[in-house]
Symmetry: C2
Subunit: 462 residues, 2 copies
């Protein structure tokens, strides 16, 4: 290994592990060393796995014995702390006493282990996946800034090279937001592709599991490995994704790239807007056809996802609200869970009707286009402690500004990825979002890969 | 025609119409004459169709020209007043001004017309399908008693022989309840089998369309004719039902008949309980295997369907509530729609989670049984004006007692039929309910037909 192992994607680590040029224990140690050095400032991990070393040793023996399981064998993965794990406690980001989440593997974690991966530790998350800052985690690109949330620990850990990749969950943008702000790849696959059994629920009809990774190919490898049946998730469709990773170089020639300037290009900072335009030009130059379209109904959507998410989260936490057992919540999350009581069933159903309408509108558009490209967020990482940010002449809450461009794909359950497309003038990463119809991950990955080939991946923080 | 035409089922009228022994105009006139005689006391119709005569003439000409369309050609059907019709106004049972429902056919009505049926008139319903009495309609078996609701006009009209059959809608039992109390057959098919396009919504995820008819075979004929694709109902599955009517005589030998004494046999009047036991003995004597089973979760369900129905109905009427435009509502319905505002989104989702759990429990049971048999209601028709009824030692609201045994099949979207199985000591009809797995209407119809063969159909009121 000539290059520091921590800086390599899984697609490069895998052959080195398979051929014995790299030992899983050495790879694990490389990450643990970086965690020891960098995580005191980042605070991206909440728990390190005492069992990881013996898992790495076991993987090394298996590989040496010719029993290589595939590209994830011996790869250290960090796990968002709302996935249950058999070898680490789970807190869902809360300090609440007596939560007593069981020591068993979430379905996605179990599938990764079967593919040979080992779990290096649990990453910090915004409490109960409700929020966009993930305190006290910091952004590895600029320690005065937030990593985003709610999978902020995962985003920071991947961007800082503290693990090969990490797991996140995404209810309104919680994988793509930290990926965008920290400068890595985040993929929220189609609703139902990855089972959510053993992931602490936030909002049943909006929650998605997915990876944060260094490259598009790594995100594809992890998503395929986690996809499949899940008896513990009634929404799991039960199909295993194909090995897209083998075909990502197919290019974008002839692909129809949709651009909806309404909503997805409203209220952007100039650097984000420029980066998105450069990405579209690049796709066009590579033979994609750019098609403008409009979905006027997008104007009303933020209220709909808030109604659904508030009602769902409150339904989940209701017994604690009723028992008055809320002192352990952090104030911001407690407020949201309490507000959720005032979303009426009628409001909830109105939101669900909006969701269906929006789905019909996009289904119509997707007859003419293959993907939708937009920025992931209107801005880059804001400073720790800011509650409102200025985008152009408008001031906006960080909650609204974070979700604005990501939430439609949660409402619709459609796959969406965020990839880095360079930095702004403050050297902060800018994320580009590519979305596609249900189970059309391959289209999305091809476009993302073509952009990655043009813009390059951001280096792990050194 | 030796027997009065009004007293015959569609399956007997159809060959007479086809062979020219009966003319559609004469059949229509027979019903209109009965309406003129009996409906002043019953008040089951709110509108008679001025176009019915020319439709009957047209049907007569087509049949004479050898263009017989099938068993519904020339058959006069009454339509619950929440189905849109192109030739009659629609009020959904409300006196509200400015409702302005359009003059076009609901999908189910259009399908019946295509099959050659003609629409004789619109039947009275409890306002917005919210209630169990359908005032001022009376029960043709005893004019001092309610016909049930919300399809009370349809139940009364069919039992009184004022039409060949009628259309109803069923959100918690609204087809089966009047069928049971008036003494006819009522079928609520599987959710999605009959499209609901053009039916005024009450609760999107609970509403079902279906027929009230004189016999099991007639109900099967009508359901098959109305089934199929519906671009105006996103929940329509789009499949056409087979012509079950041809195979209803297959008997029940070897069929597994499930009996859940918990819930479905709790708190019955002695006559209803006796009738249900006689029905089970009859099925057993005909070769069916009676299997007892238990679903303890049934104890908690009435609250769940109320939460869903209240929230949905309020969502539909919300703009009127907000505008303060509710003076036109009758007091009972206004109260329910206003109460619906206080069902929280969290309550709604808790109810939806209960619905899923109950569905899983029944899916498990349906691996061992083919149908579930129970009474349709715990009692027979109560007196007009009664708000609470006594069943055994318990007093119960008429809303709760009506729904108690019917609502589980709405929550689960499973097909259920009510058929008469004789009378109680006051000569009031007793209804038996047969339910089956999704799209297993054939199983349910076979069992219902076997019981009908044993117990006989109740005569149309003469």
């Amino acid at each position: 290994m000539t290059k520091a192992a921590y800086s390599l994607p899984i697609s490069d680590l895998a052959p080195a592990l398979r051929d014995g040029r790299l030992h899983p224990v050495d790879l694990l140690d490389a990450y643990l060393e970086r965690i020891a050095t960098h995580d005191p400032a980042l605070s991206s991990f909440v728990h390190l796995n005492a069992a990881a070393r013996s898992d790495a040793e076991k993987a090394g023996k298996e590989i040496a014995a010719g029993k290589w399981r595939g590209p994830l064998h011996g790869i250290p993965i960090a796990v968002k702390d709302n996935y249950l794990t058999q070898d680490m406690p789970t807190t869902a980001g809360t300090a609440a006493a007596g939560l007593d989440l069981p020591l068993r593997d979430a379905t996605a974690v179990a599938r990764l282990r079967k593919a040979g991966a080992l779990m290096i530790g649990k990453t910090r998350m915004h409490e109960y996946a409700w929020g966009m800052e993930t305190p006290p985690t910091r952004n590895p690109r600029d320690l005065s800034r937030v990593p985003g949330g709610s999978s902020g620990g995962s985003g920071a850990a991947v961007a800082a090279g503290l693990c090969a990749a990490a797991l996140g969950s995404d209810t309104g943008g919680s994988i793509r937001i930290p990926a965008s702000l920290c400068g890595c790849v985040g993929l929220k696959p189609t609703f139902g592709l990855i089972g959510r059994g053993g992931i602490v629920p936030h909002s049943w009809s909006l929650d998605h599991a997915g990876p944060l990774a260094a490259t598009v190919e790594d995100a594809a490898i992890l998503t395929a490995a986690m996809s499949g049946p899940d008896p513990d998730d009634p929404a799991a469709v039960g199909k295993e994704a194909p090995h897209w990773a083998d075909a990502l170089e197919s290019g974008v020639s002839g692909m129809r790239v949709g651009v909806c300037r309404r909503h997805f290009f409203d209220g952007l900072t100039p650097d984000v807007e420029d980066a998105a335009e450069r990405a579209l030009s690049s796709l066009s130059a590579q033979g994609a056809r750019i098609t403008e379209f409009d979905v006027p109904e997008l104007d009303g959507g933020l209220g709909a996802i808030f109604a659904i998410e508030l009602a769902s989260s409150t339904a989940y936490h209701d017994h604690r609200l009723r028992d008055g057992n809320v002192a352990d919540f952090s104030p911001d999350v407690r407020t949201l869970v309490e507000i959720g009581r005032f979303v009426s069933g009628a409001d909830y159903l109105t939101a669900e009707r909006y969701r269906r309408l929006l789905g019909e509108r996009f289904a119509m558009q997707f007859q003419e286009i293959d993907v939708v490209v937009s920025p992931t967020l209107p801005l880059t990482a804001w400073r720790v402690g800011e509650r409102r940010v200025r985008v152009g002449s408008e001031e906006e809450s960080v909650l609204a500004v974070s979700w604005r461009l990501t939430y439609p794909w949660n409402l619709l359950g459609l796959p969406a990825i965020s990839i880095p497309v360079g930095n702004d003038r403050s050297d902060l990463p800018i994320g580009l979002q590519v979305a596609a119809p249900a189970f059309a991950e391959f289209a999305l990955l091809r476009v993302a890969k073509a952009l990655e080939d043009s813009f390059g991946t951001l280096p792990r923080v050194s």
